[in-house]
Amino acid sequence: MTAQPLKPSGKDLQFTQKKKARELKERVIEFILFLAAFSCVATTVAIMYILISESVLFFQEVSLVEFLTSKDWSPLFDPPGYGILPLVSGTLTTTAVALSVALPMGLISAIYLSEFANSSVREVVKPILELLAGIPTVVYGYFALLTVIPALQWLYLPIGPFLSNILPNIFPAELAGFNMLGAGLVMGLMITPLISSISEDAMRSVPINLKEGSYATGATRLQTALKVVLPAAASGVIAAFILGVSRAVGETMIVAIAAGLQPTFTFNPLESAATITAFIVQVSLGDLPHGTLEYQTIFAAGLVLVLVTLAFNVIGYFLTKRFRETY
């Protein structure tokens, strides 16, 4: 009898028979969640499939060597040229111009907002800055074409003849109405809020403990921001930079409107040139018959674009990992 009390009575062992029903319900929910997650993956795979399958057809007609080395991109002309380099040079040049604006400006405003501005200033400035990111890019494009480029032309007018005398290969006498400098500058303005916002979040999440450690040695705000906060937030700041690069490489409307649509192999931002994205837009707007080689050029160009962006993302991934700090 002494061992009896530990044994549960028979009545307590009555379980409900709802296990199957519950399991089924959870299965259904799990499947719905899986579908939502899977749709993103599926879309990516489908896009890659179409890009690659159409590009395969393209490369049956055009040799990979010509595609990667020829400096002539004129697929719609006779005789056609299928060298991607002019589009790549246009993309890289506008991206470089954009980043030369966006990196310093984004970083400086992030430092200001996270370390210097008091909370009332930050509460006003930050939403406005983020609003900039919400302006449609087509508006930026017209801003570049109708405001920034004329202003640049006006600024360039007095120095142009002088510069073109010294280095005629680099400096034109007059600035073209479409050029990569204007498009790139405006693109830089567009990316600045993105870089600033992500960098600022990274810098603000640096523990107060670390900042006080710096102040306690007698460091000023600037010294603390540059020597402690920035290195501690490096992984987030680099992530912001890479996102900015991807954004610039993939940006379409601004360059299509303001950089010109002539594929030219040049790294000179004062010239006009087409980017990969601008070419795709230009050709997509026309009425190319499905299945023609001209039609397939879009996919080959698109594939290059995806690979360039992918490359930057991979670099960013490793840099972020390299600089990740555990406080």
Binding site: E212, G213, Y215, A216, T217, G218, P231, A232
Partner: protein, 262 residues
């Protein structure tokens, strides 16, 4: 408890003196007419229950409160006779003379060497040989040199918690400050690391004046020469440590040190 420390009052000098100090966080008064003396090259402990104002008082000594808007001091803290709370005194210069070790080890995301050199660089020292010399001296002072001398270029985060705290002490003493403030420096450490930090403080006081906030009365009894007991923003009692613990003059001190509240 037998006090073996000989306090020779003939060579004792006042390093700092707090006179009728009030402190406000906005409109909340956190310190009420606090007065005390910090003796040169002695360890002075601030004890009291949570919220009594001991950390607030500590952070007045290097004017950390100036970092945040709305804080206000009223009264004086004389450091070698100069009131460091004066408006025209630059808090940055105060912090170069009064350094601080924090509750949790907070090394910067830099190498061990650069962590110690940080305060020196902030003060404008760039000469490599001088930096090397001062970094070595500070690491030796913080009893970290033997463990760290072969890995000065390694990130500070590779060190253990106790080593990181000693690194922070090295950073705090590298600039040869007048006072080092310790804000509960062992609260995030295990007992072994704690006792090594306490030993270190005992050695450091030969060179530098130490002010320590601690939650642990045993720690205050172990490391300090003088103890101040604070309660609700007021200085209840300030005396030699063994007197404060063994013959407290105030009933509140008696209750606190005997563990009746807190």
């Amino acid at each position: 408890m037998v006090d073996t420390r000989v306090v020779n009052s003939s060579v004792m000098e006042r390093k700092a003196e707090v006179k009728n100090l009030d402190f406000y966080y906005g409109s909340a008064k956190a310190l009420k007419s606090v007065s005390m003396v910090v003796w040169d090259r002695r360890v002075t402990a601030l004890i009291g229950p949570s919220g009594c104002g001991k950390t607030t008082l500590l952070r007045c000594f290097n004017r950390m409160h100036d970092l945040y808007p709305g804080n206000r001091y009223d009264g004086e803290i004389l450091l070698d006779g100069v009131n460091i709370l004066e408006k025209q005194i630059d808090p940055i210069e105060v912090r170069m003379r009064v350094s601080m070790v924090f509750q949790r080890p907070n090394p910067f995301p830099k190498s061990i060497y650069e962590n110690v050199a940080y305060g020196l660089r902030v003060q404008g020292i760039t000469e490599k040989s001088l930096l090397d010399e001062k970094v070595e001296k500070a690491l030796q002072g913080a009893a970290l040199w033997n463990e760290a001398k072969d890995r000065l270029k390694e990130p500070a985060y590779n060190l253990s918690g106790g080593q990181q705290q000693r690194l922070c002490i090295a950073r705090a003493i590298a600039t040869e400050p007048n006072i080092v403030l310790f804000d509960e420096p062992t609260s995030a450490l295990d007992p072994i690391a704690t006792s090594s930090i306490e030993e270190l403080m005992n050695e450091l006081k030969e060179q530098v004046t130490i002010l320590i906030v601690t939650h642990s009365m045993q720690q205050a009894a172990r490391v300090s020469d003088y103890t101040a007991f604070m309660y609700l923003g007021e200085m209840v009692e300030f005396n030699e440590t063994n007197l404060l613990f063994n013959k407290p003059a105030d009933q509140k001190t008696q209750d606190y040190v005997s563990g009746r509240f807190g």
